[in-house]
Symmetry: none
Subunit: 276 residues, 2 copies
DNA sequence: GCACGGTGTTCTGCATTGCAGAACAAACAG
DNA sequence: CTGTTTGTTCTGCAATGCAGAACACCGTGC
């Protein structure tokens, strides 16, 4: 999407014998999706992206964008401010994501367990899936008592500095870990693990005790305990976590919560057909 | 989207002089979006849509769908089951909706609805957000006919004696109500509710009928009807109201306005992604 | 075993369809 | 009013997507 390879735009290679696979790339469709991505990434709460700005940043003629844009607006994926004419995302995207979340059976299966965990722990519970190289939050159960955190559903987070990420990564093959390390481990807080060997040691401990811990590695005031959810083929593509402010989740509490989160995740795994 | 007019697909009108506007319709892009919509609408939790089924229901050749689909998959809007090859929505749609919800300016979303409400009711409409322990006026649409009231945008008001405040409070957890009561309910007018239990009873009625009423509780000559606006996570942090002088807004008129304000607020809620 | 109806995928000539520059219109700013 | 930005329409050119047919690939059931 952001990193679509060579057929960037404007590269007209006068290929004498263009293969079919190289011809049929739906360039217009790809460009339309590039427009969509551009609007998604650069559109502040205040204003959207104007036609000219889009044309400039995507290096396309305005007429092209106008043409590509019309169907997107009709479909509700884009909307146009009727005063300024600026583009923003449209309500249609909500329909998409709602439908998407509806198709996730993991969410349904885990719902009961998440709710119980949230109630018993009195903290916020998150459910994430693994979309390399990130984890994506697909469900959240909040305890009503605490200060509300921003809704995370749909947002992404790095693998190496979150409990859920590490819980998943710990059960991936070594290559996956190597890739994550190779991609770099930029520090988010001063507690973030930025060394590959230390990360591997942490993943080993995670496997041994059955749950992962994020001790202020992603947010300065948040501790987080997560356990892997095993698929029907015993691979790990999801995780369940309990997180909260450090004032509430102490080191001692982590040792109490860990096994309970692992238990909950295990029950979900069983529902999915895991043999664990 | 589902009801796009003539250029359905396959209608080749042998127009001798096709206008530019009729030529540039990005038919391929439109068809790609039709594919997306089809997957969105017909993809149960269990399985996705197979290529052949898509081709059949959309009346397109399989090769076309395959070609259109490739970029959508690359963009993450569609995903393909690696075993069955069936199409389902991809995680990319979450990124879209996440971005969409981030850019939402409540004012913009509510603007259209507020204007209509103001026009139909012929009274002043207010939009407020909840900033405990107050409500803050963030937009106002006046009817030109009446005497103008002092501009309220940005000003704060107590929760317990305004319709907007009560509309919001009625959908908060009991702790929030307790806090408000604990902070005290000083009388503003002689109609102000100053008793915690009476306030709770009023909030209960508000929940039951779907809108809140301020009967001269904040200003001696003003009646006000308000309804809650639900967020994308179905919490309430804003409200919409119609207010006017008691001479114009009678008790009977309140019963007429109530459901209409509730309707308007509901429409705004839907735009914000509420499932209500 | 081999035909079968069912998948998904590749290929290729044809012309429809999208391309982009230029020309136009409209809204501001100086 | 002239200049500079914006958004929009137009149109010749050919690149690009179109769709049918041909291919490869399962499984199932005579």
């Amino acid at each position: 999407m952001t990193g679509r390879p060579p057929p960037l735009y404007g590269d007209h290679v006068p290929d004498p014998a263009p293969r079919a696979a190289e011809r049929n790339q739906s360039s217009s469709l790809r460009r339309a999706l590039a427009v969509l991505a551009e609007v998604r990434d650069h559109a502040g709460p205040g204003q959207g992206l104007t036609l000219s700005r889009l044309a400039e940043s995507l290096a396309m003629p305005k007429s092209t964008i106008l043409r590509l844009t019309a169907p997107l607006v009709d479909a509700g994926l884009l909307a146009r401010d009727r005063r300024t004419g600026a583009y923003r995302l449209g309500v249609g995207v909500l329909r998409l994501s709602q439908a998407y979340l509806g198709t996730l059976d993991l969410r349904t299966v885990a719902a009961e367990e998440s709710a119980r965990l949230a109630r018993e722990a009195g903290e916020t519970v998150h459910l994430v899936i693994y979309e390399p190289p990130h984890v994506v939050y697909i469900d959240k159960v909040e305890n009503q008592a605490t200060v509300r955190m921003a809704s995370r559903i749909g947002s992404r987070a790095p693998v190496y500095c979150t409990a859920v990420g590490k819980a998943i990564l710990a059960w991936q093959p070594e290559e996956a870990v190597a890739e994550v390390v190779a991609a770099g481990l930029p520090p988010i807080t001063k507690f973030t693990i930025t060394d590959g060997d230390r990360l591997r040691a942490d993943l080993l401990r995670t496997r041994q005790r059955g749950y992962a811990v994020d001790d202020r590695e992603n947010e300065p005031e948040v501790r987080c305990v997560a356990a892997p959810i095993f698929n029907h083929d015993d691979t790990v593509t999801a995780a369940l976590s309990v997180s909260g402010l450090t004032s509430r989740i102490t080191a001692a509490r982590v040792r109490d919560l860990g096994p309970r989160v692992a238990q909950s995740a295990l029950r979900v795994s069983r529902h999915l057909g895991s043999s664990r």
